[in-house]
Amino acid sequence: MESNIKLITDDGLRLDGRALNEMRPIKIQTGVVEKADGSAYIEWGANKIIAAVYVREAYPKHAQNIDRAIVKARYNMSGYSVEERKRPGPDRRTMEISKVITEALESTIVLEKLPRAEVDVFIQVLEADAGTRIASLTTASVAVADAGVPMRDLVVGCTAGKADGKMVLDLSKDEDNFGEADIPMAILPRTKKIVLLQLDGKVSQEEFDEATSMMMNAIPRISEIQRNALMSKYNVEEGE
């Protein structure tokens, strides 16, 4: 669909005033759900997402894996989290996101340490503003670490895309809707192993490389925010 909306202004800034490789502000908080084993809340730009983790024996019994845990992530959007009301309940899109988040988390959780168990990750999107799947994954991995589930690394997600013919980092809602491409990616920072990579739209090989290098540069910053979020729960108690 051709659009005549200008996503990048003449002075090279984006509509919300960010530079091409600038992220939206991110804030993560842990321990927000009292009864959950672990939980985290993220504000990524205007996205507001809550994640809660429960570890338990898998039920029903025939669903148990005798030598490893199973991971069940459930991504859910609130009805008024988006501009036009979303019909509540699972649909094609939320099932897909639940699946990719589950698979990304499975690659980092040490499943063999919790045989027969089930790691339930409930993700509720309270407000959506582009990039919810990687924001969900970023906060879900913090919640899993908060629950004390053994994991090899904290999963870090980021998006890049193409708007007005230029590669930009961390797409906003307008760039997502009217831009040419959207690339969400999640990696394990220690090994640089990619655990989630999707592409919506058309990009050339060079543009794709530019997008991934942009995201690789942004990931240490997000990783730092995740670590500070985990630590802050204990710092507050110490600062008396």
């Binding site: 090899r152 690394d153 394990l188 630590m231």
Partner: protein
């Protein structure tokens, strides 16, 4: 006190000459943390002690459990863990006949029991046949995070004895994080507040001294 090194999942752990034990995984003969926690070094071993983790059943742990279900010969017990535990009728001090388990322990009852057997797939069996093990008839149950249990007990039990003596209550701490408290209503609620403070401030130095001060002050007010 030396400051403890804090690690996040995926952080490299300097093992030196020590033998890595819990909470680490190996990759190309280097070791990385599996938890968000602190590095603990002893003479021979190095461990990661997580700030939070689910309770996993271990043989010979004395725990407090809640009866969840009654079968023909066994009770299913919630032990504050992802995994349920089982109590067979022959592992009790009573002469239970099969199909008549509800007469002795009903759903919702609490027991102080010992894990007699646990296996590699985290199945476990309880026993009530040992000194001090019993059904908990009165009192209140609270829960703390399982990794905080050693701090609630304190070195040689000094923290829990302090709370017991100063609040004039009877307390049993299960290794799984369930704690049973009995006594006067006010005393029990004082003990609960005290235990919650210990759980919250478990990693801060000089906790026992501050706790004893706090409890003395509470006593003075009443």
């Amino acid at each position: 006190m030396e400051t403890k090194q804090i690690v996040y999942p995926g952080d490299k752990v300097d093992v030196d000459d020590l033998k890595p034990r819990n909470g680490m995984y190996e990759n190309n003969s280097e070791y990385f943390s599996e938890y968000f926690g602190v590095v603990q070094k002893s003479e021979k071993f190095i461990d990661i002690a997580p700030f939070n983790s689910p309770y996993l059943p271990r043989a010979n742990d004395k725990i407090i459990g809640k009866i969840m279900d009654i079968g023909a010969t066994m009770w299913t017990v919630d032990i504050n863990s992802p995994y349920y535990s089982l109590l067979h009728m022959n592992d009790t001090p009573w002469h239970v006949s099969s199909g008549d388990l509800g007469r002795y322990l009903n759903i919702g009852d609490y027991i102080y029991a010992k894990i007699s057997v646990s296996n590699e797939i985290k199945e476990s069996w309880l026993t009530l046949r040992d000194n001090g093990l019993k059904k908990l008839e009165i009192g209140r149950i609270i829960s703390v995070k399982p990794p905080k249990v050693p701090r609630v007990i304190g070195k040689g039990g000094n923290m829990i004895n302090l709370i017991k003596n100063e609040t004039d209550t009877r307390v049993i701490v299960g290794q799984n994080g369930f704690i049973w408290i009995d006594g006067d209503v006010d005393n029990v609620s004082n003990a609960i507040t005290a235990i919650k403070i210990v759980e919250k401030e478990a990693h801060i130095i000089g906790l026992t001294d501050r706790m004893s001060e706090y409890l003395k002050k509470l006593k003075g007010e009443n």
